[in-house]
C-alpha cells in the first residue's frame, strides 16, 4: 500500500511544473515532501490524487495505477488540498456525512465514523454550525477529517499545518503518527521544516520540479550541522575551544567575547560528537548552560541543497 512515482513529469503549457520526480513512500511511515514555493509539490500531489494525468512516468498509489483504474485508486486515497473551500451553508457534520456517502460508506458505518472524526479534530461543538462560522484553522481541521472519512490507506496532505494554532499542530502530529502506526502511508508537503522533524520518518526534497534528494530523518539527525553552545562565561568558552582547535563563530561576529554569559555556534558531525563535546567541556570546568542544534535536521539539509543550487 505504498506510493510510488517514477520519472513523473507534468507541464502546463510551457511551464514544467513537475519535471522528473521519483518518490517512494512506504506504509506505516510519514514521508515529508519538501521544497521551495513553485517546486512542484502541489502538482505532484494532484497527480498522485488522480486528478492530473502525468505527461510521462508511472504512478502507483496503494498498488493501483490511477491512470488505469482511477476509481480503484480514489477508493484507497485520502487527499487534502492546500487551498480548498467549504460548502458555507452546510454544517460540519453534513459535510462529513455527504463525503461519506460520496465514498459509498454505508450510512450505519458513516454516522459513528463522523462523530469519531469530529471528536478527533475537536469540532464536536461546531458539528451543527454552518461551515462559514468556522475559523481558518477549524476549516483546515474539517478538511483533514473529510480526507479521512473513508479510512484511506494512503493519505496525501498538502500543507496540512498551515493556519493551525500550536495546539492543533501538536494534535495533527499525534494523529498522523497514530495513523502511521496503524499502517497508513502518509505523504505530507510542508515548508514548516521544524514540524516535519518530529513528524516525518523520510523526506523527499524537490527543487524546480525534480527530486533532488531523498533522506530519512534519522540520517538527517546524523548529518553535520550547526549547534549552539552556551556558557556562563563566553570568554572562557572561546578560550577552551581555541585550545582544542575547534572552529567556532560567535552570534555577534564583530564583538569581542564577553566576560559574562554568551554562546557560540560550532559545526558538529553528529549527536555523538555533540555528546562528546559536552562531556569534555564540563570536564574542563566550563560552565555550560545549553547545547542544542542551531537548525532543524531537515532544515539544514534543505539549506545545504539551496546553497548547492545557487
Amino acid at each position: 500500500m505504498s506510493i510510488e512515482a517514477h520519472g513523473v513529469r507534468r507541464s502546463f503549457g510551457a511551464v514544467r511544473a513537475v519535471d522528473g520526480v521519483d518518490l517512494v513512500a512506504r506504509p506505516g511511515r510519514v514521508t515529508a515532501l519538501i521544497g521551495p514555493n513553485g517546486s512542484g509539490k502541489t502538482t505532484l500531489l494532484l497527480v498522485l490524487a488522480g486528478l492530473l494525468r502525468p505527461d510521462a512516468g508511472t504512478v502507483r498509489v496503494g498498488g493501483v495505477d490511477p491512470l488505469a483504474d482511477s476509481r480503484g485508486a480514489r477508493a484507497v486515497t485520502g487527499w487534502m488540498p492546500d487551498v480548498f473551500g467549504t460548502w458555507d451553508s452546510l454544517t460540519a457534520r453534513e459535510v462529513l456525512l455527504t463525503f461519506a456517502a460520496a465514498y459509498r460508506v454505508p450510512d450505519d458505518v458513516a454516522r459513528p465514523r463522523v462523530e469519531e472524526l469530529l471528536a478527533t479534530v475537536h469540532l464536536t461543538e461546531y458539528a451543527d454550525r454552518p461551515a462559514h462560522v468556522l475559523s481558518r484553522g477549524q476549516k483546515q481541521r474539517l478538511g483533514l477529517a473529510r480526507a479521512l472519512v473513508h479510512d484511506p490507506q494512503v493519505l496525501l496532505l498538502d500543507e496540512p499545518a498551515s493556519g493551525l494554532d500550536p495546539r492543533s499542530r501538536v494534535d495533527l502530529r499525534v494523529l498522523l503518527r497514530d495513523l502511521a502506526g496503524r499502517g497508513t502511508t502518509i505523504l505530507v508537503s510542508s515548508h514548516v521544516l521544524t514540524e516535519l522533524d518530529e513528524m516525518a520518518d523520510d523526506a523527499v526534497f524537490l527543487s524546480a520540479g525534480r527530486t533532488v534528494a531523498t533522506q530519512s530523518v534519522r540520517d538527517a539527525v546524523t548529518t553535520r550541522r550547526p549547534w549552539r553552545l552556551r556558557a556562563l562565561s563566553q570568554r572562557a568558552l572561546v578560550t577552551w575551544l581555541d585550545e582544542r582547535g575547534l572552529r567556532w563563530r560567535a552570534d555577534e561576529p564583530f564583538a569581542a567575547p564577553a566576560e559574562g554569559a554568551g554562546g557560540v555556534v560550532v559545526e558538529l558531525e553528529s549527536e555523538e560528537a555533540a555528546a562528546a563535546l559536552l562531556r569534555d567541556a564540563v570536564g574542563a570546568g566550563i560552565a555550560v548552560t545549553a547545547l542544542s542544534p542551531a537548525t532543524g535536521a531537515l532544515e539544514s539539509t534543505y539549506l545545504t541543497l539551496e546553497e548547492e543550487r545557487r
Binding site: H6, G7, V8, R9, F12, D19, G20, D22, T42, L46, V47, G50, L51, L52, R53, P54, A56, G57, T58, V59, D65, L67, A68, D69, S70, R71, R74, T77, W79, P81, D82, V83, F84, G85, T86, W87, D88, S89, L90, E94, T98, F99, A101, A102, Y103, R104, P130, R146, R210, T211, V212, A213, T214, Q215, T222, T223, R224, T301, T304, L305
Partner: protein
C-alpha cells in the same frame, strides 16, 4: 552529507504513461446523483436570497396575470359576447401567461446552473468532490437535478396563475398538462446547456453570458435569421393561381361597401407570382422554445373563428412548413367562404404533422450535448485544463 542525489532525468526520457482508461465515467447510481443534488440544494436553499427571489417571481407573475385578466375581460366586453370570443380571450390569457412564465424561466434557470461547475472550481470545492467515488456523470447529473428542481420551484410558483388562465376557458385540460410538462422539459434543457458552458469556461460570468447568448440564439436570433432569409428563398415563379375572372365587357355593379353585387367566377390560370419557399427554412423557427410550447397546445375546439396568439403561432409555423401552396387563392370577393377556407388551410397544415417534436428533439439534443461536455470536462485524471483554471 548523507543525502544521496538522484540522477537527473533528461526531458526526453521516462516511460510514456499508458493511455487513460476512463472506465466508470458514465456509471450512474441514484445514491450518487442524490448525494450531489442534496449537497447542491442544501447549499442553495439555505441562502435566504433564494426564497426572496421566489417570492418576487411569484408576485411579478401574479401582477401580470391579474392585468392580463382585466384587459382580456375588457376586450371581450367591448367586442360583444359569444362563445368564440370568450374562448379567444381565455386562450389569449393562457398563452400570454405561459409565454411570460417561459420567458422568466429562461432568464432565471441559467443563473442556477451556468455557475455550477466553474463556480465550484473557483470556490475550491469541485476537486474534493471529484476525488471521491462519485463518477463524473453522477456529479453532473446531480448538479443538473439540483438546478432543475430549483427551476421547477419557480415554475411551481407560477402554476396557480397558469391554472387561473386555464380556468378562463378555451384550453383543453390536456393542453394545460402538456404545456406545464413542456415548460418543465424546456427548463431542464436550459439547465443542461448552462451546465455545459459552466464546465467549458473558467469564469462564471463567461458561462452565464454564453448560456444567455445561446438562449437568445434559440428564441430571437433564429426568428431574425428566418425573417432575413425569406428573400433568399423567394422569387418570381410561374405558379397556378385561382384568380377572379374579370372578363372584359362584363358589367358588374357594386354595393355601397364596394363589394361586387354578384359573385365573380374564379378560374385557374398559370401566372408569374413572387412566392417564398419557406418549406426550406421553417426549421429555423421549430427549435424556438416558444414555438415548441405554442405548437404543442391543442387548437381550440371552437374552430377557425378562434384567433389567439398560440393558435396563430401554431398555424403560422405549420404554414411556413407547407411553403408555396398551389394554386394560390386570389378569389378575394368570395369572402363569405373565408371561414371554410381558413379551416381548409389549417387542415392542410395539420396534415403535415406537428412541428414541436422536431423542436423538442433539437432542444433535447442541445441539453444532452451540455451534459456530455460537462461529464468529459469532469473526467479525471485530466490531461488538459481549461484555460485559466486550477485543478484545486
Amino acid at each position: 552529507m548523507s543525502t544521496e542525489a538522484q540522477p537527473r532525468i533528461a526531458p526526453d526520457e521516462g516511460a510514456v504513461p499508458p493511455p487513460v482508461r476512463h472506465a466508470g465515467v458514465w456509471s450512474l447510481t441514484w445514491a450518487g446523483v442524490r448525494t450531489v443534488a442534496a449537497l447542491e440544494l442544501r447549499q442553495r436553499v439555505r441562502s435566504t436570497r433564494w426564497i426572496v427571489s421566489l417570492v418576487v417571481f411569484g408576485v411579478v407573475v401574479g401582477i401580470v396575470t391579474t392585468l392580463t385578466y382585466v384587459v382580456a375581460r375588457q376586450l371581450t366586453g367591448d367586442l360583444g359576447t359569444g362563445a368564440a370570443l370568450d374562448e379567444t380571450a381565455g386562450r389569449t390569457m393562457f398563452g400570454f401567461i405561459v409565454f411570460f412564465v417561459l420567458f422568466l424561466g429562461l432568464l432565471v434557470s441559467p443563473t442556477l446552473s451556468a455557475t455550477s461547475i466553474n463556480g465550484d472550481r473557483a470556490h475550491g470545492t469541485l476537486a474534493t468532490l471529484q476525488v471521491t467515488l462519485l463518477s463524473p456523470a453522477e456529479i453532473v447529473l446531480g448538479k443538473l437535478l439540483a438546478s432543475w428542481v430549483a427551476s421547477l420551484a419557480f415554475l411551481a410558483v407560477s402554476v396557480p396563475f397558469i391554472v387561473w388562465a386555464f380556468a378562463t376557458g378555451g384550453t383543453a385540460l390536456v393542453g394545460l398538462v402538456t404545456t406545464v410538462l413542456l415548460l418543465a422539459v424546456v427548463l431542464a434543457v436550459v439547465c443542461a446547456i448552462g451546465l455545459g458552458f459552466s464546465a467549458l469556461t473558467a469564469r462564471t460570468a463567461g458561462s452565464a453570458v454564453l448560456t444567455y447568448v445561446t438562449l437568445a440564439g434559440l428564441t430571437v436570433v433564429s426568428l431574425i435569421v428566418f425573417g432575413l432569409s425569406v428573400p433568399l428563398v423567394s422569387g418570381v415563379e410561374r405558379v397556378e393561381v385561382l384568380t377572379e375572372d374579370w372578363a372584359p365587357g362584363r358589367d358588374i355593379t357594386f354595393d355601397e361597401q364596394g363589394r361586387p353585387s354578384e359573385e365573380i367566377p374564379c378560374v385557374l390560370r398559370e401566372e408569374d407570382r413572387y412566392v417564398s419557399h419557406t418549406e426550406r427554412t421553417w426549421w429555423l423557427l421549430a427549435a424556438n422554445p416558444f414555438v415548441v410550447v405554442a405548437d404543442a397546445l391543442p387548437p381550440a375546439t371552437g374552430g377557425a373563428a378562434i384567433a389567439d396568439p398560440m393558435t396563430g403561432i401554431r398555424y403560422g409555423v405549420r404554414t411556413m412548413r407547407l411553403g408555396v401552396q398551389e394554386p394560390l387563392d386570389e378569389c378575394w370577393s368570395a369572402w363569405q367562404q373565408w371561414d371554410e377556407r381558413e379551416r381548409d388551410r389549417r387542415e392542410r397544415a395539420d396534415a403535415l404533422g406537428a412541428v414541436w417534436p422536431f423542436g423538442l428533439a433539437a432542444n433535447l439534443l442541445l441539453g444532452a450535448a451540455g451534459v456530455v461536455v460537462a461529464v468529459r470536462r469532469l473526467t479525471i485524471p485530466q490531461a488538459k485544463l481549461p484555460r485559466g483554471t486550477r485543478v484545486a
